[in-house]
């Protein structure tokens, strides 16, 4: 029997990999929805001296987006123009993840900066608190700091129109109503 253990272990891992492939990586992991955005703090990307904190995003009284990105991540480049387009409609905050500060600043300078403010998580430690697994990830956070939606993968125009925008508008309607 003990010689079958490796086979069983392998089958377990294979099942895990199969499940891993079937995970729709853009699906929202349920535990995060409706929970407050974890309060984490990190240096500001532009001004290393000052702090960027998720629980008091400046102007945090209405719905906003929090986008985790990196210059080494190709999908981030893909979604970047979309953020530039929507930056006028909704405030976007960024967390620059496991990246090089100079590269990140350079990227924003060349491609344009859609972010109100960007935090700098150089070693990905903050990302652990936030539950960041892959980049890019984008959260819709309401005025009380509750996560209303989480999207993993590039926010393309379609993703924005079909998934993020309805949530943003719903949150806005609720916030007008009180």
């Amino acid at each position: 029997m003990k010689f079958a253990i490796p086979l069983l272990l392998f089958l377990l891992i294979a099942a895990l990999l199969a499940a891993g492939m079937n995970i729709d990586t853009s699906r929202v992991p349920s535990p995060f929805i409706g929970k407050p955005l974890p309060a984490v703090e990190m240096p500001d990307l532009h001004e290393p001296g000052s702090r960027f904190a998720t629980d008091r995003l400046p102007g945090h009284d209405s719905v906003s987006l929090l986008n985790v990105w990196a210059t080494w991540c190709p999908p981030c480049r893909e979604e970047h123009p979309v953020f530039l387009d929507i930056a006028d409609h909704v405030p976007i905050y960024g967390i620059n993840y496991k990246d090089d500060r100079e590269d990140a600043l350079d990227w924003l300078k060349r491609l344009g900066n859609p972010y109100v403010a960007v935090g700098y998580d150089s070693d990905g430690l903050v990302g652990i608190d936030l539950g960041v697994y892959g980049v890019p990830e984008t959260y819709v956070v309401d005025g009380r700091g509750i996560i209303r939606h989480k999207h993993v993968g590039a926010v393309t125009q379609d993703v924005y129109e079909e998934q993020l925008r309805p949530v943003i508008e719903e949150v806005r309607r609720q916030e007008v109503r009180p």
């Binding site: 086979l7 492939m21 300078k109 539950g131 892959g134």
Partner: protein, 663 residues
């Protein structure tokens, strides 16, 4: 035309691979020597076809045939010739072609050197290698054909990823693949042994050089990847615990364990089932690495285009090959008998401890790599496992291993004498600890415990090596040179590899604890002090590369008014992909690296410049080179060449006892 020839050659290769699987394996079962004899010619034919396909793709690259999708995505008219040739493995499809080519070369090597082996065994080994080949050729043809055309044909290509445009990156993938794919050979040897029940000292002796050579290339490939990351990613790091790095480290750890376990199996006829399991595991992890990079199950810096069908195909393939192998193992391993018992204090025990530590390290890396995936699959949220976890698991294991290395080789097989060993090592132990403390205190003002411990363990390995060689010399008589030559190369190879590990460990500990990194805003003509050096920023100029424009800074480094070096960090812009790359200016030295990267231009003509002082960082890779040299030396040991030439003993349905006498 070339792409069509390429596709045709691949299809032909698939056919030949199928022949190489079916006929020899069937022939081995039905004892038909004519069927079995097909294996070697089929392997040669396959190599010819894959080589032809490879040449076709290279030709499309060199001649800028942008009607081939893969070329259009990974090349450009401005791309230098050198990188066009290397562009073949710059993306998913082409790198698969390289994978298959390497496998075909390994298979032919096995076919060429296995003539003395029993026909049935040889047919099985080649058949299993053919099975692996079938999987990969089919994978390429059906999900990732590198010869796919596009219409309309683009005017120019999208260029090779600038990250890959570096000499280190050009040789890293081929060497790594040689290592990865090389693990298929011990795997095939093990499965053939399980099928035939032939599992004796001769089998182990025959497996050892193949494993050593695969391990050698794997180690060099990993080290090159680390070196490349260090100079190209621009943040001065040399290991990232990225899933794909982990994917290459895991098979290396298992192969290291396998090398040691094979030694026991050969010399003592024991650990047999375990050795087989390690060989299977090593290849499984090599496949797993391939799967992880290409399936989209994990996100990583090494982003290949992800596609679920590819993942599904690879997973199905792994289920067949590995699931089948482990099923066979579960059925047959019970019948494997180990020959001799050994006492608690013996060489066997030390090698067992080595294996346990290496496998625990491998399991820890596997856990850290797959844990986030497991949590997500179970709907428990998403997490990221980072360097703190890996470092805290890995460091104690590596230190424990280093301690055992110093003792293991001096302990006798079967039953060692603890007191005698202690007596021989007494001086070495004392000297290692004292010397380490003295060296560390003398050279730095802030000595950390972990550095002292690492340095003393490294010295421990070196001194214990000296003791081992000295004692061996004393056992013989005659002129010193003659006695030195009489010691087998395998013995020197082992010690060289162990010393290599010691060198790497010192490099890792010292650079991690004592590196200095400074981040400065600085104008032309200004200087800053960092790490005891004066860094004088003389300004920038523009440089025109073949397919990029660069701004090049000039940083003169002086110490006590003496010029040490001038660094030329570059910031390159590749217009086709609109990507910016930092090219660090590095002054390399055995004692330290001085490293500068050029950041952004800020107001008033100032630049952001990042300066690093990296003591002993080169030792990390120097150690890797020593380890590889050790493996090469051991693999060239005369005993293996003899075992290649001499006809092996007739196959026996093994109960092992006969095997011991021969070793």
């Amino acid at each position: 035309m070339a792409p069509e020839i390429g596709t045709f050659a691949l299809t032909l290769a698939l056919g030949l691979a199928l022949v190489q699987v079916v006929l020899p394996l069937a022939g081995a079962t039905c004892r038909r020597s004519a069927w079995m004899a097909v294996a070697a010619p089929a392997a040669w034919g396959q190599l010819a076809c894959i080589a032809l396909a490879y040449v076709c793709l290279s030709y499309s690259f060199v001649t800028h045939d942008f009607s081939v999708l893969f070329v259009a995505n990974n090349s450009n008219t401005a791309l230098p010739f050198f990188y066009r040739v290397a562009g073949v493995w710059g993306g998913h499809e082409g790198s698969l072609l390289l994978w298959m080519f390497v496998l075909a070369v390994w298979t032919v090597a096995v076919a060429a050197w296995s003539r003395p082996l029993p026909t049935v065994f040889r047919a099985r080994v080649l058949g299993i290698l053919g099975l692996v080949s079938v999987g990969f050729i089919a994978f390429t043809l059906f999900t990732s054909n590198p010869f796919e055309r596009i219409f309309p044909v683009p005017a120019d290509g999208r260029d090779l990823n600038p990250l890959l445009q570096d000499p280190g990156m050009v040789i890293h993938p081929p060497l790594l693949y040689i290592g990865y794919v090389g693990l298929a050979v011990p795997f095939a040897l093990s499965i053939a042994a399980l099928l035939g029940g032939r599992l004796d000292a001769a089998w182990a002796r025959w497996s050892r050089p193949w494993t050593l050579v695969a391990w050698l290339f794997l180690g060099i490939g990993i080290a090159l990847g680390s070196w490349w990351a260090y100079k190209e990613l621009g943040w001065g790091g040399w290991w990232f615990w990225d899933p794909v790095e982990n994917a290459s480290l895991m098979p290396w750890l298992v192969a290291t364990a396998l090398i040691h376990s094979l030694a026991v199996t050969e010399k003592r006829g024991t650990f047999k089932a375990w050795t087989i399991l390690l060989a299977i595991t090593g290849f499984t992890l090599a496949l797993l690495g391939t799967f992880l990079v290409r399936s989209g199950a994990l996100t990583s810096v090494h982003a290949f285009a992800n596609d679920p069908t590819r993942g599904l195909f690879l997973l199905a393939f792994m289920l067949v090959v590995i699931g089948g192998s482990l099923f066979l193992y579960a059925l047959r391993a019970r019948q494997i008998r180990n020959d001799v018992a050994f006492s608690l204090f013996s060489r066997e025990t030390f090698l067992l401890a080595n294996n346990v530590l290496l496998m625990v390290a491998c399991a820890a890396v596997l856990l850290g790599t797959l844990y986030p995936l497991a949590l997500e699959a179970l709907g428990l949220g998403k997490i990221s496992v980072g360097p703190p976890y890996f470092n805290s698991v890995f460091v104690p294991l590596a230190l424990g291993l280093a301690f055992l290395i110093g003792i293991g080789h001096l302990v006798a097989w079967r039953r060692g004498d603890p007191l005698a060993v202690a007596r021989r090592l007494r001086t070495a132990a004392l000297a290692a600890m004292t010397l380490a403390a003295v060296i560390v205190w003398a050279l730095s003002d802030t000595a950390q415990l972990v550095v002292i411990v690492t340095v003393s363990l490294a010295l421990w390995i070196v001194l214990s090596t000296v003791v081992g060689i000295r004692d061996r010399l004393q056992r013989r008589s005659g002129p010193l040179l003659e006695r030195l030559v009489q010691i087998p190369r395998g013995y020197y190879g082992m010690h060289l590899a162990h010393v290599g590990l010691a060198v790497s460990m010192v490099g890792i500990a010292v650079v991690t604890s004592h590196e200095v990194e400074a981040f400065h805003r600085i104008g032309p003509g200004e200087s800053v002090e960092a790490a005891g050096y004066t860094w004088h920023f003389e300004g920038v100029r523009t440089v025109e590369g073949p397919n990029f424009q660069a701004v090049e800074g000039r940083v003169a480094v002086t110490r006590k008014d003496r010029l040490i070096t001038v660094l030329f960090p570059q910031k390159r812009h590749y217009p086709v992909r609109d990507e910016v790359m930092t090219q660090a200016g590095i002054s390399a030295g055995l004692g330290r690296d001085l490293f500068a990267t050029l950041g952004d231009q800020v107001g008033g003509g100032d630049w952001v410049v990042r300066l690093h002082y990296k003591p002993l960082v080169r030792w990390i890779w120097l150690g890797a080179i020593l380890m590889a040299a050790g493996a090469a030396l051991a693999a060239s040991d005369r005993r293996y060449q003899l075992s290649l030439r001499q006809p092996a003993p007739a196959p026996i349905y093994d109960d092992g006892r006969e095997a011991v006498g021969r070793s």
